[in-house]
Structure formats: C-alpha cells, structure tokens
C-alpha cells in the first residue's frame, strides 16, 4: 500500500498482537467482586505517564469524581485522549497531571487555551471523528482504520494520520492508527460488583474505549444486582470482563449532569469557566479537590445535601432513560 502523505508527530500506538497477548494473559475473565473506593482503584490502575481516555465530558456524564481523584493523587505526565476535553483538560493541566492531550474539542474557558499557547501542555488535533475511529480500531484488533475525512485539512499534518492509496478505488484515503489506552474511565448509571455496566442515553465511545484499553475503571451512580443484567441483556453497555474496578460514586458526574438523575450545576460550571490564571486555578484545585479527602467528603462539605436535592429535582426528563 502506498503512503501518499504523513505527518511526523508522536502518537500512542501498540502492535495489535501485543494488545491481544495482554488481553489473553492479563485480563481476568473470572467474575470477581471489584467494588473499591476510588482512592484504591485510581492508585492501583493509574500510573504516572499513562494514556488516559474517558467517555463524555464535564457537562454530561463525565467521570468527574475519578478525574478529581487522579488530581488528588497528583499523577504526572498523563497523556489524555478525549473528544470533549472540556473542563477536565484545564483541571488536569492546571494540576500538573496532564502534559499531552489528543483532541477533539479543546474547551472550556481561557485557561486551557492559554496553557497551550505557553507550552504547558502539548496538543495533537485528531478531531472527534479521528479519536472515535482510533478507539474503534483499537477495539477491533486492527492497526488502523480508513476514513474519508481529515483529508485536505491541516489536522492531517498535526496528527499522525496518513494519506494512503485506497487499494479498491485508487483514491486517496485517510488512515488513523489504533489507540489502545492504558486506562479508560466510564461513569455509568448502573453497575454490579463484577463490573457489568449500563449507560442510559447516548455515549461517545464507551464500548470501544472499554474494549481497547488495558485497564477500565467504572464509576456508577447505583450498584445493582448481577441478576439484573442477565434479565435484560439488551441494556448492557459493558460486560464485567472488560472492567477492572467498580467505584460506587453517586453524583460522580458533578458538576455536570447525569441524564435522568440530576441536572448540571451551572453556577459551579461558571466558576470553572471563569478560571483565567494560575492563582485562580490553584485556588479551585485546593478548595474542591486537595482540601477534601475523597468524593464523599467533597459532596458532603463542598456541594451539600440541599444542592444535590435541587439538582435531582431539576432532572425532570426521564423518558427513554431506563
């Protein structure tokens, strides 16, 4: 196959056979209880230098409590891959955890844009479709997948996508390499103690990320009986043998919304949007993350029962979420 054009950009890649061997040798198929406090799960499965991917964002169903735990444990040199890297990218960068980001959509607020300009964090623009497709390739056990976008754009030069000659039509075609992250975070509506998990509503790439990653941490609003999954298999998003740890995390998407459970806390989002400099960032991190021991204490002392009740009450649309 002819390569017509390629960028010279660093990118995360693993030979599909290496990943297959990892799946064969290191991923247990035994149904074992995996319910852990976030502190233990993050400590066990997230290391300095890891590539981390997560489904959805700080606005909706993002794994915010797990991300705060990563920040609390002061992980270093993370490479994050996220389509909607909203406030997470700013917080992980401001806390000194993330040094590289594959995007996606790089928002929100001026802090993260400024961090890119100052060289605090390196960004690689793969586009949303590019990252989804890389994870699908990683989940599908192939070294790359082709697509008819990215072509003709400058994203081609600032990612490691290549233009190849299509063996069937002879036309130029974009190829993106498989992505097999070290660890994936998924925040879900329901999980059992073995890791079977359900997301209600749409997702970005939940199953792709879970299959393509070496380790998967699921945080769940609710822990349900394993029998529930067997009774209604159409609703299983992730089967247990893809999951390494389950964390029970009510309000785990806070300050974002959890569809049909609680609404977004807009005043808190506005605080995040308003972070413009290092001082404001460090104050936010201190007030909301470093100064509390864990997610439970954060909810208890920083969010409060009244606020949680208010946000639950605002989640009036439940149709379709079951």
């Amino acid at each position: 196959m002819r390569i017509l054009k390629e960028g010279e950009i660093e990118y995360r890649f693993e030979h599909p056979d290496d990943f297959r061997r990892f799946v064969r040798d290191k991923r247990s198929r035994k149904p074992e209880p995996k319910l852990h406090p976030a502190k233990e799960a993050v400590s066990a499965f997230v290391s300095d230098g890891d590539y981390l991917v997560y489904d959805f964002s700080s606005l909706t169903r993002g794994p915010q409590s797990l991300i705060r735990e990563v920040i609390r444990q002061r992980r270093k040199d993370l490479w994050i891959g996220a389509e909607f890297t909203l406030h997470e990218s700013a917080l992980l960068t401001g806390a000194g955890c993330a040094t590289r980001i594959d995007v996606g959509f790089l928002g929100y607020g001026s802090y993260i844009g400024q961090a890119v300009c100052e060289g605090k964090v390196r960004v690689y623009d793969w586009t949303n479709g590019g990252i989804s497709l890389r994870l699908l390739a990683g989940a599908r056990g192939v070294p790359f997948l082709p697509t008819r976008d990215l072509l003709g754009s400058d994203n081609m030069a600032v990612s490691a996508a290549k233009v190849i000659e299509d063996p069937y039509t002879g036309l130029p075609l974009a190829a993106v390499p498989a992505l097999n992250p070290d660890v994936a975070f998924l925040h879900v509506h329901q999980a059992d103690i073995y890791g079977d998990a359900r997301i209600f509503g749409t997702n970005l790439f939940a199953l792709e990320a879970a299959m393509a990653s070496h380790r998967v941490i699921v945080s769940a609003e609710e822990i349900v009986e394993p029998e529930e999954f067997r009774k209604d298999p159409m609703r299983t998003t992730i089967p247990y043998f893809l999951v390494d740890a389950v964390v029970h995390a009510p309000f785990g998407a806070y300050p974002g919304a959890m569809p049909a459970r609680y609404e977004i806390d807009l005043p808190h989002i506005d605080i995040l949007n308003g972070i413009r400099n290092e001082e404001q960032m460090q104050k936010y991190l201190h007030d909301n993350i470093y100064s509390v021991a864990d997610h439970e204490e954060f909810l208890d002392r920083r969010v409060g029962a009244a606020k949680m009740k208010e946000l639950r009450g605002k989640a009036t649309i439940v149709e379709g979420y079951r």
Partner: protein
Amino acid sequence: MTRMVEFTDTEFMIAQGARLLEDGKTFFVGWGIPQVVAILGQKLYVPNVIQLFEFGAIGPQSVLPFVRGTMGGPQNTYRSLQWLNMNWAFAYSAAGYMDYGMLGALQVDPYGNINSTFLGGTYRTPKRRFAGSGGGNQVASHCWKTIIVIRHEGRRFVPKVDFLTSPGYLTGPGAREKAGLPAGTGPYRVVTSKGLFGFDDETKRMTLLAVLRGLDPGEVVRDMAFRPLISKDIEEISPPTEEELHLLREEIDPSRFLIRGERMSAPA
C-alpha cells in the same frame, strides 16, 4: 416613517440559518448557534427536519427552553428516533445520509475553508488557541451541503486561514475530490450578521447573494480581507420577524445567554 426592528447580530444569523433549512431533510447540527438554528427551524419552518448530533442523537426534538451547557443531555437528545454513539453518527454522514451540516467558524477563506483551531503564531506556539475541530472536520467533509455561520467582521474573512480545520473547496474546483473527500460535497452557504454568501459554480469562490434590508452590498464587502464575488441580482434579507424574535427570546432562550450580541436594526 419606516418602522425599525431591533435585534442582535446573533438573532439575525439564527433566523437566517433557520430559513435556509429544508423540510424532510437531514441536518447535522454543530455545537453552539447551529443548535438554536435547528430548534427555531423545527418550530417554525421545517417540522420534519431530522437533526443529528455527533454525540449519537438521531432525530431529536429539542426541549424548550434551551439549557446552556447541555451537550448530549436529556434536553438535546429528547424524543430521538435512535440513541447511538459517535462512530455511528459519523457513519450516517460518511455514507451520504446527511443533507445539510452547519458549523461556526473563527475564520473563513474565499473557498469556504474553516479555521476553528488557532489565531496567529504557529500551531505549536499560537497567539490564541481555540477549541479546534471537534467533529467539524467530519461534518464539513461528509455532508452534502455545509452551511457556515460567522459574525460579519472583516478580519474573519481572510485570503488564507491560519489553520485549515474543516475543508471547504480547498484550493478551488476539483480540489476536494482530488484530496479524496466524498464527491459532490462542500460548503453551500455562509450566513453572516450582514448577509448571505454562496459559492460560484465555476470558480468555487465565495459570492455575495443577499444583504440585510437597508444595507449596501458594497459596504457589506468593503471591510472583508478578501474580495468576494458579487451576484448580479443581490437579494434583500428581511430582518428577524416578530414571530422569530418572540420564539427566540421568550421560549427558546429566555435567559438570553445564546442570543445576546451586538445590537442592530433594520427596516421592518
């Protein structure tokens, strides 16, 4: 004396966008203004438009009022035909099912190439960094007709974009096909806060088609950093109607978070 109607530049762009939609067609909705265009359009002009969002909502009928910050939440995935994920959303567009797409832009060039990534400096050391493509690159690559929405400020209309985030006609006729993009696709209209542009069939260059009632076409193109073609028959665009403004202000965005902008007026 002519009665004047007052509105914001954002309201005018949203109303124009909504009037461009075609009923019974599919519409790939980008983040921000296009979301509001889709809602207004569906309420007033195109009840059977099929909205599609990159986060996997196929055919939703958005709830009012629009809640800012919602992305893939219950409000903009409400009463969908189908809930999926991103790879399937872009499968719909890549296979040719999406008739229209709509995207915002920081900069646009004469061929409708979009920059939404950075301004000034270089990619590694930009002067100002913005969100980047998101799914915009896929929308502009796959949809049959892409509509660009951009505030009419001269510095946004440049001979060459600082970064080509989402493809227009690239360097001219045939360039998209030569690059390998799906045949027969490309930018269709550019909605601005002063007028409406299309693309010349032969040269694929941006062409002024219409201006807001009361504006002079020469004035509209004067401060643009490139000189667009100008249609022989410039049409007049009516300002936002009472019905459009009422829906936008009272029902869709009562907090005025999305529709706020620079104040404008035009003869009613």
